[in-house]
Structure formats: C-alpha cells, structure tokens
Subunit: 210 residues, 2 copies
DNA sequence: TTATATATTAGACCGATCGTCTATTTAAAT
DNA sequence: ATTTAAATAGACGATCGGTCTAATATATAA
C-alpha cells in the first residue's frame, strides 16, 4: 500500500516530487493547520492545497470529498494528540499529577508558538458541530472519550498514591477536566495569553488535591 | 429617539409595518439567533433579513456594516444574559449556591428548547475569534469579565455563610467556573444532551463545598 | 399645490469562493 | 506500440458574500 520514496511510480509524476502517500499526508497536515485555525466550513480547499503546492485538480484524486478529507484530518489530529498525551501521562518517572501538568506545559508552548490562533482542533470543531457532517460528530465524540480515559487513568494513579481525594470518581473528574480544558483553550485564544490555561490548571489541581 | 408605534412617520413606510427601532430590534434578534447557531462568518445577511421579512436593500439603512451589526448583536445578547444572571444570582430568597444551580437549570432548559443547536453566543464567537473583527474581540472579553464578577459575588456570599471553603479566591473560582461552563455547553452541543452540563455542575459544586 | 426632506426598498453589482468533474498529460508496464 | 495508472489542468455552474446607487413612498414645509 505504501510506496517507498525511491521506487519509480507509474503514471504522471507529481509536480511536488512527492509520492502518493506523501502527498496525501502533506494535504492532511495542511488540513489540520487550516481547520484548527479557521474551522471546517471557513477553510477553503484552495488554500489548503496551495500551502503544500498540490494543484487543485488533484484533490479528488486523493480524497473522495471534503467530508472524507475532514475525516482523515480529524483522525490524524486525534492520533497525534493521543500520542502526545501518552508521552506525558504514561511517564513513570514522574508523579501522576505532575504528568498532567507537564502535558499542560507542552500544550501551552504550542499555544504560544502559534500565537494563540490555533488551539485544539477537536474543541474548535466541536463548537462548529451544527455545520459539520454527521460523520465528523461521531469522530469528535470518540476522540473525547479516548482522551478522557487517558486522564482518568492518570487520576486513578494519583488516587492510589493518595495524592487526591479518594471519594472522587476519576472518570467523572476526567470528563470535567476536558470540558474545563477546552474552555480554557478557547479563552486563551480570546485573551491571547496563557493566563486562562494557567488559571484553569492551578484551580483544578488545587480543588482535587487532598 | 424612540418613535412610538402610533405616530405617523416620514418617508416610505416599512413593508413589515414596523417602525425604525422595531425593525432594528427585530434584525438584532434574528442576528442573535443566527450567530448563536452558525457563528458570525457562516451567517449570511440574506437569511438574517429574510427571517424577519426585512428586504436586503434595507440592511445598510439600519447598520453601517456587518461588523457594526455584529457589535449590536453581541451587546444585545450580553445585556439579555446579564439580566438572566441577575434574576437568579441576586435572588435573596435562595441560598447562594442554589442560585447558581437555578441559573444552570434555566440554561439547560434553553439548550433543550433549541435542540442543542445554539448554546452560548459569546462562547461560540470566542472560538471563532480568529475570523472576527477586533472590535468584537474586546466586547467578548468585556462580557466575560462582567459575568465573572457576578458569579464571584455569589460565591463570596456562599463563602460568608460558610457554604464553601474560605481559602478559595472567588474571582479565580468564577473565572474557572466560566471556562468550564463554556466547555460544558460546547460538549452538550456535541452530545446533544444535558449530561455534560449536569456533570460539570455536580462536579464543580462537589469540589468547592466544604 | 408644489417642493423638499426623510425613510425604506429594489435590485443588481461583481468578486470570491464553493466543491466538483472531465479531459488531458506523463510515465511505467506489457 | 499499446495499455494502464497517476497526477494535473482548468474551468464548471452555483451560490452567495457584503455593499451600493437609484428609485419609491410618505410626511412636512413653502
């Protein structure tokens, strides 16, 4: 399925020099960036294509529709973000609650790096859900569920080491965490600084620690 | 400034039979509904006008631009929502924390009534801020500040009656509240049910009570 | 009555997309 | 040489964006 880079390919060669799967990947990456900054409806294929120097005529060679493209974009971001979460939340060298803080610091750096224009793709599309195809909605729900389980896991660890109140339900708390998190990211886009995220994290941790 | 309904007016009469300020108000109301459901960028003037039977040609008689119209819409919603907040949060017949719950119940009813398609105009536009004129951004910030002060006030009351932990900073907590709230409303749009809001409220109250 | 001021509307402007599709080009495989 | 596959060119028609000028309809003033 994946053509490697050196093997010659049949058919007209890509202007960009990339092979099929590389081009597809580049398009998805460009889509992630545009959809994260401007949302699905307000992002035109033209610009997404131009950013990676893929001609407009090629789009429907790579994807069946904008909707199908959106699915690939969401899945890619979901994968990327889950990996980032694991990187921090499964780091056994660090105490559970500190792992969550490390993740937050990582995300904060990303917010600054993109000048508070991007935020979280999933959170952004969530707001836009009334304009989205139904297929996207389900993907967003699945993604949140996955993220929630990862945070819940980490909170359970913290609970076992007695770092947080034992009476709290970690799944509920993780759900609560992500709602607040997305709210904080959105607010941070509005204020154009990190204080909302910091306020959220400090308050959240303060409220749950024993 | 306000023409009353009975006095005859100069100029061509409005097709709708409304006077100038009534038409303006109707347009703003329609704008609230569209912007809340679809956002600013994805809401066309055409539909906003059609909904209240105002001809397209009339728009620039009532507003200088779409941006100016947006400002009026945000201000109207902000006013409307502040009033709703006061209605609950200043109700001295009710205990402070219960007032917040009453507000939440009110909002939940609104979410259901509109089939989870609308949510909060301010929160929706907040996500869209990269597509918004700068004038709108400041209005959104001001609105959040106002709302925050109202919740902070109510939390201070709860603190005085010893209902919540005295060591918590009510302003910070109010800030935290609204971030979580907006996240919960967004999630509720996604799931199309009230559980996110309920989960948020239960968790929030559980975490802050003594 | 006529002229003027004001309020509202008609309707098109035109550029900018929008997502999509068919025909064509290029190159490898047969 | 012919076939098959990959990628591109380029425009398609439709919609719709916000905006503007000219026309219309009424109240008031002369």
């Amino acid at each position: 399925m994946n053509k490697n880079t050196t093997t010659a390919q049949r058919g007209r060669p890509a202007k960009s020099g990339r092979n099929s799967s590389q081009t597809k990947q580049a398009l998805v990456q460009s889509g992630v960036e545009y959809f994260t900054e401007f949302g699905f409806a307000s992002s035109g294929l033209d610009k997404i294509l131009k950013k990676v120097s893929v001609p407009k005529g090629s789009f429907y060679h790579y994807f069946a529709s904008k909707e199908a493209f959106g699915i690939a974009v969401i899945q890619e971001y979901s994968r990327y973000f889950a990996k980032k979460l694991d990187l921090h939340l499964l780091n056994e060298a660090i105490e559970p609650l500190q792992r969550i803080e490390n993740f937050a610091d990582d995300a904060k750096a990303g917010m600054s790096r993109h000048h508070f224009k991007r935020g979280c793709l999933i959170g952004n599309l969530e707001q836009e859900v009334t304009l989205l195809p139904e297929s996207h909605r389900q993907l967003l729900l699945d993604t949140f569920e996955l993220w929630q389980s990862k945070i819940a896991c980490c909170l359970q660890l913290a609970q076992r080491t007695n770092a947080i109140n034992g009476s709290l339900d970690c799944n509920t708390l993780a759900n609560f965490f992500w709602m607040g998190w997305e709210g904080a990211i959105a607010k941070s886009k509005l204020t154009r600084d990190l204080t909302p995220i910091e306020t959220f994290m400090v308050s959240f941790l303060q409220l749950i620690v024993k």
